[in-house]
Symmetry: C2
Amino acid sequence: MKIDVKKCAALLKEQDNILILTHAHPDGDTLGCGFGLCRALLKAGKKARVINSDEIPSKYCYLYGDLPKYDFAEDYIVAVDVATENLLGDLSQVYAGKIDLCIDHHGTNTEYAKYLLLEERASVCELMYDVIRELGVEIDARIADCLFTGISTDTGCFRYASVTPATMRIAAELMEKGADNAYINRLMFETKTKTYARLERLVLEGMEFFCGERVAVICVTQKMYAQTGSNEQETEPLAPMTRQIEGVEIGITLREKPDGTCKASIRTFESVNAARLAKFFGGGGHPQAAACRFDCGIDQAKKMIVEKCGELLK
Amino acid sequence: MKIDVKKCAALLKEQDNILILTHAHPDGDTLGCGFGLCRALLKAGKKARVINSDEIPSKYCYLYGDLPKYDFAEDYIVAVDVATENLLGDLSQVYAGKIDLCIDHHGTNTEYAKYLLLEERASVCELMYDVIRELGVEIDARIADCLFTGISTDTGCFRYASVTPATMRIAAELMEKGADNAYINRLMFETKTKTYARLERLVLEGMEFFCGERVAVICVTQKMYAQTGSNEQETEPLAPMTRQIEGVEIGITLREKPDGTCKASIRTFESVNAARLAKFFGGGGHPQAAACRFDCGIDQAKKMIVEKCGELLK
């Protein structure tokens, strides 16, 4: 059942012992709104904790490092920034079909939760700002850091077409509440490990163009991780680079998993719907940023997705 | 004489036939506030035009492409985003000592103009927003595009420590007035020519580290331009990349000029004052972004600047 911010806050006020689920391969938005909501609920006198199926990259530790480890039997389950239950990763085996409330911004949300607060804002953190205010919790510097992180990371630091005046004003409010914008943006956008820098160069060197140079594809293989000392956790900044070459309308990043299968991240501009392309292969996402998985290796996946690109660009 | 926004607007209201000077090797901020002011003055019924010593990179053509070519004898000369007269390039031979008004945000401004409006805002465009409002001119979509361009480019798209809540709110206002943030940010930050992409890879491959890896240096030579088909106009995005490697506190970009001498762009974080380092070599700028010129070749310049870095980091 679709609900609004007011109803969402009212539901949360009624509950205690709240478990917050974030999506697998976590990013700044799912973690930022997860821990932002968790902190707000703790401030409101409730028990709450955030879980994820994967290891959380260490650069996000400022979001949660100081939080107490609460152990409690959950009475209420909330998923944030999770468009479909299978994006929960291993957690879906335990929680699929049991989610009470979902707060999301993906137009492709499958409405799997009992209640769904869905607004196609630039990030879920932008929406969470409204929820927390409606909860009546005063936003402090730690909550502000969490929400700013999601707003900034999901918009490529206020770069993408999804940014609205409201996005900018909420970011301004969060900075006034104490969000350390300089620290967060430096950490998220201006800090590369040497191993990642090596991987980036190696991957970009291998960029291939298809469909009259309107499609760019990069591949990240297990061998490349071994060669550079890098790992999958570091690869988040690669996907946006695929659509940066002049004339490219679809940018695809294929990442090989340890089992030889692969995942594709798709980035497009207005001319192509990335979520539609991802959907052909069972994935989903946003109009300009989407993802899907393949049961085959990189070479075959590349062939299949490039073929589909050719059809879409016709 | 230092003046405030009110006095600056009052001075401009009294004048007509206004020539606006922008700095050599122009960037989004000097061009954005130059053409933004020019458009506002034209709207106020005055004659105005913008000039630059160098060719303006074609990606900025949306700032001025529709403006009429005004030819008039100038009665009033305004410099925008120009910290010292020698930054005017060849224009300084004609206009040095004759500048009536300077609008700037560099703490290192040498107060060469008769009147100086100086506020250390994140960009001059942010300050120009206040000036244009004080002029009583309604900001339209074209002016908004100009001002948004400078705010966005001078902050690395709202990324740097110089961004304040006011920066974000003014950007929100400009978006509401019609600034095409998605187009501008895509063009400025998400569009690489293939020639530039090749140059970037070549340059980053040669990155060297000094002073216990706290200093990173990249060199851009004339030979590299020839090898990749790129040119100096495209090199603006390189400088910020030098400080992105974990642990690096000073990033230096050395660009060889056709005559064999070179220029250095310096980027730092809070621990080192970039303007102070540039000043040793006769340059200037901001605490975290500065520049200077060398009369020698790249190798000698590198030796000299790295030595000075070593002293500063002690």
